[in-house]
Symmetry: D3
Subunit: 127 residues, 6 copies
């Protein structure tokens, strides 16, 4: 899989790259986007969706990054753990917050399997 650099990109891909750099106030494009650029439709759709989903709302941007990181650690996605750890740190994640996050992620993965293995029926009050 080739990473598409700006110099080699089609106008369609460059438009997304330009938007990423403008919105993020950076001149750096992550490898994730350079890989998706092999499929410009997915590049554009993913970039648009990410902006909608990660925008501040009821949840602040740091909390959203922590949730992203929790999912990525659960799935064991090395790239995503690395890039969203960096993003979360930029948004204020300290070492102590990371520690608490991972403790919850570990615990949830443990009890998820205890609940499955013991075949615990859902309590009526939770239905």
């Amino acid at each position: 899989m080739k990473l598409i650099e700006y110099a080699d990109a089609s106008p369609e891909v460059r438009a997304v790259y330009d938007d990423i750099m403008a919105k993020r106030k950076t001149d750096y494009i992550n490898n994730f986007w350079k890989a998706l650029a092999n499929d410009p439709a997915t590049l554009r759709r993913t970039w648009e969706s990410i902006q909608q989903v990660m925008a501040p709302g009821e949840l602040d941007p740091l909390t959203k990054e922590l949730i992203y990181l929790a999912v990525s650690a659960t799935n064991g996605c090395e790239y995503c753990i690395a890039s969203h750890s960096a993003a979360a740190t930029n948004k204020g994640m300290t070492q102590a917050i990371f520690g608490e996050l991972m403790a919850v992620v570990g615990m949830a993965n443990e009890t998820n399997r205890l609940a499955a293995g013991y075949r615990v029926p859902v309590d009526d009050r939770f239905k």
Copy 2:
């Protein structure tokens, strides 16, 4: 797998049940604990760990429940989704917060697979 009711529980199990009810200010014991009671050592260890991990710290209790829920949805654990949705609601999760949470969870699960399938190399700056 039998659910162990208070009346049928050993003193060791009753001690944990009593502690759960006292700390949570309720007279209700979830099926999860009644199932774990089949193995009193796991019941006690899990209850003690959960208290440590879910205690307020750098992250507030609601944020910790949201992370728990994000992991449970990623793993497709029906019991855990149901019980932690209830717990999160008790701690202030609104319909709008749940919607944003699930949007991030869905997006992270999508991009985790895009990163894996495209075999995106980790950027040097994220290492």
Copy 3:
């Protein structure tokens, strides 16, 4: 998905059913096999592979069932947890063994995510 009963089965499917009943000394065919019977090639291949893989060898049949159950709980496969819990019980799994099994499964699922999230590099001595 229709479950194929013996009376409605083709000769090819009946031959597998007969072999299952003879080898397992039972007149009962699990729903799993009745579902696979919709694809006789998969039915036959799976039955033959299961016999090879689950046969006593360096590991005894109970240990193999425990491993099967550990994987099934990790994947949250309700059918497989139910059927392999029954199979393991038939081969000697007690309540105490089940408790220890699930404790290890839970713990492994927890530390798997801690290792991923903390991005722990593999020690040279483990390579």
Copy 4:
């Protein structure tokens, strides 16, 4: 884990290697088979099953490789993504096909979690 080279292989393993090379019209044996060769029974059984499952039938060989790749990306199996990307390319997968495949894989992983998290009940008509 040692990779077993042809020169060091037992007659039983060599027979499988010979069959792989003959059927695939190549003199190259993938690392996957060289690793499985540490357990000759699993090597043989896996090679035989793969041939049955991947043979042209109702689905053509390219479609089967795409499905293999979809599963491998979902599981985040780096080796499998790399080897089945190569196999699919050999069977006609273009960059455009790969892009569409990954878009579906990403989307399915997203909606799988939305369905789980929202606890959507199965419609009667889908039962």
Copy 5:
């Protein structure tokens, strides 16, 4: 989680429902959409993305549904397996095609774990 019926839906939600019914030439709205309607932004974004991703392109609609089903079976998502089995059947999936699909899905899940457990290094030619 409440399912939002058309009669109770906001104009924003009704607009999506109307579009689903018009495009799919049906008067039936799946429970999946009725659940997502609790978060209109996610409802709209998901519906728009699904249309882009599942549209005929290099891959035909049936092949895309098979890939969706492969991912859903790998993740054990009951709702998604049920709904996409129905969708695939509508697009031409026969019992025989389903059997071949599931055989590949099962095999890929097996060899994914063999590759991981044996820690098979990626062949240079696959890099």
Copy 6:
């Protein structure tokens, strides 16, 4: 993520390191513990839980390591596969045992997806 060496560790972390080295009769601390040391509370809790869960009981220590390895291979956790392969080997896992273990793990992952995809209903006798 920094690995915390003994020389740089706080007294709280050193106490755990000392205990690990004493109990395991070694002067080597795995990278896993050096990473968790960034969060001393998780380091201590995880070390205490591991000792309880992995202690000999109804199941012997080798069997518990095999179960740990089965889960780690299912989750594709590279670090955990490497470290628990080493631990299992120390406790008596031979090449032949590893082969049988992985055969069961592979098979279980295959049939877990067949059961899910075919939507096999749980037999009454397994409930």
